[in-house]
């Protein structure tokens, strides 16, 4: 019996030991082609600004000294270009700006505001010679129809109604934030296609995430399809790091002219509501 136990047990132990992950990677990654990344979200009422960075090798160590959301080490300087608003040219200037906790390294001067349905075009030339082009349009604003709260015992859930009123598919991004004391927490962040609406009507609901005294910030961003696709591709690539049932893919952007440049140049509008739960 002892003999039989040994001849069975020892190989099973081998099997168990073997299932431990091995050492660090033994593989050769293909040579990294550094890409430029353009991020630009233009909104009526705000002057246009851009963040232009570059990618790093995926397995390159991070700079621990610049971990506090500081992406200045990745910023790309020396890009020249122009922003066209309804055909009128405005120079893109290499100028740093910190605005509402975000960092930008390019601005356009002389433009105070954008209007609904304005046509926007961007031309950029990079220091290494790449020339790219992008186009967007300020989408029509989708207003918040109404906001209500469900109550269960001492907790509250947010319910928000909107209406898609165009025959063509419209897109929105719903963001729900909770401000409790000095902490602000993101509760929901959903890009949604109007094709999923019921006769143009759409309802967003939250869990019972709120209590008396909380400030609820509900935002609906009216966005374009290019940004809807871009955001989904970013989100799925992030998911694919941890979920084996998610396919990764290439970033879906609207910057054309060079495969060395990815990113988004898009316009959007925002409707928001701030409610203090009483």
């Amino acid at each position: 019996m002892r003999f039989i136990f040994r001849i069975i047990f020892i190989p099973i132990c081998f099997f168990g030991i073997s299932c431990e992950p091995g050492d660090g990677a033994l593989i050769d990654l293909p040579e990294l082609k550094t890409k430029y990344v353009v991020e630009s979200y233009l909104m009526p009422g705000e002057s246009p600004r851009f963040l232009i960075t570059h990618t790093d090798g995926f397995i390159k160590d991070y700079d621990i000294n610049s971990q506090d959301n500081d992406i200045s080490t990745e910023m790309v300087e020396g890009v020249v270009g122009a922003l066209y608003i309804n055909g009128e040219s405005h120079e893109v200037v290499n100028k740093h700006l910190e605005y509402e906790g975000k960092f930008y390294n390019y601005q356009v001067s002389g433009v105070d505001s954008l209007g609904q349905n304005d046509v926007l075009e961007l031309e950029l030339t990079f220091p290494t010679g790449e020339k790219v082009y992008s186009k967007s349009r300020v989408p029509e604003l989708i207003e918040i129809d109404s906001i209500a709260f469900n109550k269960s015992e001492n907790r509250y859930g947010d319910v928000l109604y909107i209406t898609f009123d165009k025959p063509e598919t419209q897109y929105v991004r719903r963001i729900l934030l909770r401000v409790r004391g000095k902490y602000t927490q993101l509760i929901q962040d959903l890009p949604v296609s109007g094709s999923l609406s019921n006769n143009g009507k759409m309802v967003f609901g939250s869990e019972m995430d709120f209590r008396r005294g909380d400030t609820v910030i509900s935002r609906i961003y009216s966005i374009n399809k290019e940004y809807y696709d871009y955001y989904n591709s970013i989100f799925m690539n992030l998911q694919s790091n941890t979920n084996p049932f998610v396919q990764p893919g290439q970033i879906s952007g609207n910057i054309v002219g060079s495969d060395k440049v990815v990113g988004i140049f898009t316009a959007m509008q925002m409707a928001d509501s701030l409610v203090v739960v009483k």
Binding site: I17, G24, L29, T53, T55, F58, S233
Partner: protein, 774 residues
């Protein structure tokens, strides 16, 4: 228009007249149990004629009875036998018994002749294995496996470490038609693919077609794997079995009516769960692991064969097998079970000595269920494919050098895709979703096998297939043609062209053979896949012991399916939306040197191949990319040495250049729009599968000691898997270290470093198995 030449060829070859010598007819049987042997090679030296036995062991070969002739009967795994037919002999109807092969010098001499028969055969791109070959080669934990043995042949790749899934000439795992006694089996794997569902104890033969598919096969575009179980002994009661490290099996066979009706039943079950119970009872496994997961699989084979009359034979076949994996925790249970069930009724009828009919009614089902319990809620996720079918195959031999086959085939499929049921134990919450399409597949074929002057052998045919669902009908015409030409006694050349169509598809994104992979029918969004393959090759008999084979192939794969970028696959209710369609090419060359006689036997197989897929909407801009199984070099060396009747040593060495995988090459901080203060690190992916895994290589060995006793024979097999402990890649994963804040928590938005790590599965692994038979 393209079809006309093929039909013309079929029709033209039908009336060709052969010579008018007398015919030698008969039946070839296994000497130990009188069961008929299919595909036995029969060769007449003086007449330079050859043929094979049919599924009932019958043959007919023309001879010149004006002279004495020698007829040689050869069959893989059996001693060859030669008989002399003297001139003027009138009795030209024979029953030949062949004995199972035992490795001795004598039989080695005999198998020399079978090399010559192989040289003359018309088969291109086919591999055949006997039960003995499968059993004696080294294997993981001593569990012999027919599909793993096939992986040692050129052009047939394994999916990943230890996996039974076959990737054949650029095809994927679901593009192989796997038949057990003629019935399709939809998931031929146990233990997540480490073992196949085929219990070696009941196998009679296994034949794999990589090209030159006969017209009676269809429904998959890359290969056909036809596995036959053996009938029970109809003369006396016999038993055989074995005990290994992870499983045990027992087979009992007996005559229900002597020389008339036999029964074979066989069962196999793993005993890992009993062992884990012993470990749990005897060792403190710590608080972190509350219970070792409970896993077992079993399978059960059944075969009843009855010779109803001289002209009628009936067979009833059955198989059922299931895997069950269970973990039970306080608030969270997971129970996954999956398996196949098959049944068939086969009636063989002989109208005349030249006209036979096979009629089959069959049933095949594969299902998986993933049961989750979290607190009070039960989640059931599963899928099922059920196929009921019938077919008739008529074989007519108008003359000794010609065989004509016609047949029809009908299948009804019921799918249950992505079932999701949620209910509360109190019964208040109930939810279910999923699709349940029902479809029908039908086919008819005609094939003509013709030999001219024993030098030119042509096999031609055409298959018409159709697929009908609620809203669509698909039809396809599949021409098949193969030819061989014997240049001289040592050299022959061969060529084949085939078209295959596939109407049902298995979707998986893991690259592993998981039970959660889902079968899906063609519909208005998913067109049938089809392939065209052209292959050419030559056989060269180097000397009495060595046969060298070389084949070249090109295969185009159309309407191939890939998951779209950024799709979520698991528990998706509308899978159609997740697919994108394109095409592929596979081409390569295969070299095969085999030694089948002498104390040392074995083979060396080498494949140089390339596979590419492209023109997929939304993937790499329509450019071509390699699939994961694009393996450039694949080498297998197999050697067995028989010291004497009692001792033998076997060893295999495999090498494969790295498979492909898809990993991020870059990253950037995503700052996003105003209103959200975070900058997650986004991985950047380049083209699909642009990273090569490290090369795979492994050496296995086993030694067999046989014992011949009064009560029966038994053997001990001791082996070692991965003898030099190579850490081969099983899969890679991304490992990211995050910044730890002052509260000791990981901040998932502040990575410190990322690396790519490899999981290796099997280190050096000893094995032991004891087999017996009486």
């Amino acid at each position: 228009m393209k079809l006309y030449p093929v039909i013309l060829l079929v029709l033209l070859t039908l009336p060709l007249m052969g010579q008018t010598e007398k015919s030698l007819k008969g039946v070839v049987k296994d000497a130990s149990n009188e069961k008929p042997l299919e595909a036995v090679s029969i060769f007449c030296k003086e007449c330079a004629n050859g043929t094979y036995t049919d599924s009932l062991g019958r043959f007919e070969i023309p001879i010149n009875n004006q002279i004495s002739v020698h007829i040689k009967f050869s069959y893989v795994g059996y001693k060859s036998r030669s008989i002399l037919i003297k001139e003027g002999t009138d009795n030209l109807n024979l029953t030949i018994s062949l004995q199972e092969e035992v490795s001795t010098l004598k039989e080695v001499v005999v198998t020399n002749d079978s090399e010559k028969d192989r040289l003359l055969a018309a088969d291109l791109g086919s591999e055949q294995l006997s039960a003995n070959e499968i059993k004696e080669l080294p294997s993981i934990l001593g569990e012999s496996d027919v599909l793993k043995t096939f992986q040692l042949k050129p052009g047939i790749l394994s999916g990943s470490e230890g996996n039974s899934t076959l990737f054949i000439r650029g095809g994927k795992g679901d593009q192989n038609l796997v038949l057990l006694d003629g019935i399709p089996i939809y998931n031929p794997n146990h233990l997540l693919g480490f073992l196949s569902t085929f219990n070696s104890s009941v196998l009679q033969s296994a034949k794999l077609y990589k090209a030159g598919f006969p017209s009676n096969y269809g429904g998959r575009i890359s290969s056909v794997i036809d596995i036959k179980t053996r009938p029970g002994n109809d003369k006396g009661i016999h038993a055989s079995g074995g005990v290994g490290l992870i499983s045990a099996d027992l087979t009992i066979e007996a005559p229900l009516k002597k020389n008339h009706t036999s029964l074979l039943i066989s069962g196999r079950r793993t005993h890992i769960d009993y062992l884990s119970g012993v470990i749990e009872d005897n060792f403190d496994i710590g608080n972190s692991l509350q219970e070792i997961p409970d896993y077992h699989f079993y399978d059960f084979n059944f075969k009843l064969k009855s010779q109803l009359s001289d002209n009628d034979r009936l067979e009833v076949n059955g198989y059922t097998g299931r895997d069950d994996f269970k973990t039970l925790y306080e608030v969270h249970d997971i129970d996954v079970d999956w398996g196949n069930s098959l049944g068939s009724l086969i009636w063989n009828h002989k109208f005349t000595d030249r006209l036979f009919l096979n009629t089959t009614v069959s049933y095949s089902e594969f299902s998986h269920n993933l049961n989750n319990r979290i607190d009070e809620f039960d989640f059931v996720l599963g899928s099922k494919i059920l196929n009921t079918g019938s077919k008739m195959d008529l074989t007519y031999q108008p003359r000794h050098n010609q065989l004509v086959k016609v047949g029809v085939n009908y299948s009804m499929y019921k799918f249950d895709i992505g079932r999701l049921q949620v209910d509360n134990q109190g019964g208040e919450v109930e939810f279910s979703s999923g699709e349940k399409p029902q479809v029908q597949e039908l086919a008819a074929y005609i094939a003509n096998d013709y030999e001219i002057k024993d030098r030119f052998h042509i096999v031609s045919g055409v298959r018409f297939s159709g697929f009908i669902n609620k809203t669509n009908r698909f039809f396809s015409i599949e021409p098949r043609i193969g030819a061989s030409f014997v240049v001289n006694t040592n050299f022959s050349i061969k060529s084949a062209y085939t078209r295959m169509t596939q109407y049902i598809h298995q979707v998986s994104n893991s690259g592993l053979s998981l039970p959660t992979d889902i079968w899906y029918p063609s519909n208005e969004n998913i067109a049938p896949q089809y392939s065209d393959q052209i292959s050419v090759g030559w056989n060269y008999q180097l000397n009495d012991q060595f046969l060298l084979t070389h084949e070249l192939y090109y295969k185009s794969l159309e309407n191939q399916i890939e998951f779209k970028n950024h799709s979520i696959i698991f528990a998706s209710n509308q899978l159609d939306d997740k697919f994108t369609f394109g095409r592929g090419d596979a081409f390569g060359t295969e070299l095969y040197l085999e030694k089948r006689s002498g104390k040392l036997t074995g083979w060396i197989g080498y494949t140089l191949a390339k596979v590419q897929r492209g023109k997929f909407d939304g993937i790499s801009g329509g450019n071509y990319f390699p699939p994961r199984h694009d393996r450039r070099h694949d080498l297998s060396i197999v050697a067995s040495f028989a010291f004497n009747k009692k001792w033998s040593l076997s060893s295999t060495f495999v090498f494969g250049s790295g498979d492909k995988t898809w990993l991020p090459t870059g990253r950037f901080h995503f700052q996003d729009m105003p209103g959200k203060n975070s900058t997650p690190v986004v991985p950047v992916y380049e083209d699909r599968n642009s990273v090569s895994l490290p090369d795979y290589h492994r050496l296995d060995a086993s030694i067999v000691r046989k014992f011949f006793t009064e009560w029966g024979d038994h053997e001990i097999i001791v082996g070692v898997y991965n003898a030099y402990n190579r850490k081969n890649p099983y899969f890679l994963y991304l490992d990211t270290q995050y910044h730890i804040d002052e509260n000791g928590k990981e901040n998932k938005e502040l990575p410190v470093n990322s690396s790519i790590k490899q999981v290796s599965l099997f280190p050096i692994l000893p094995s032991f198995r004891w087999n017996f038979k009486f």
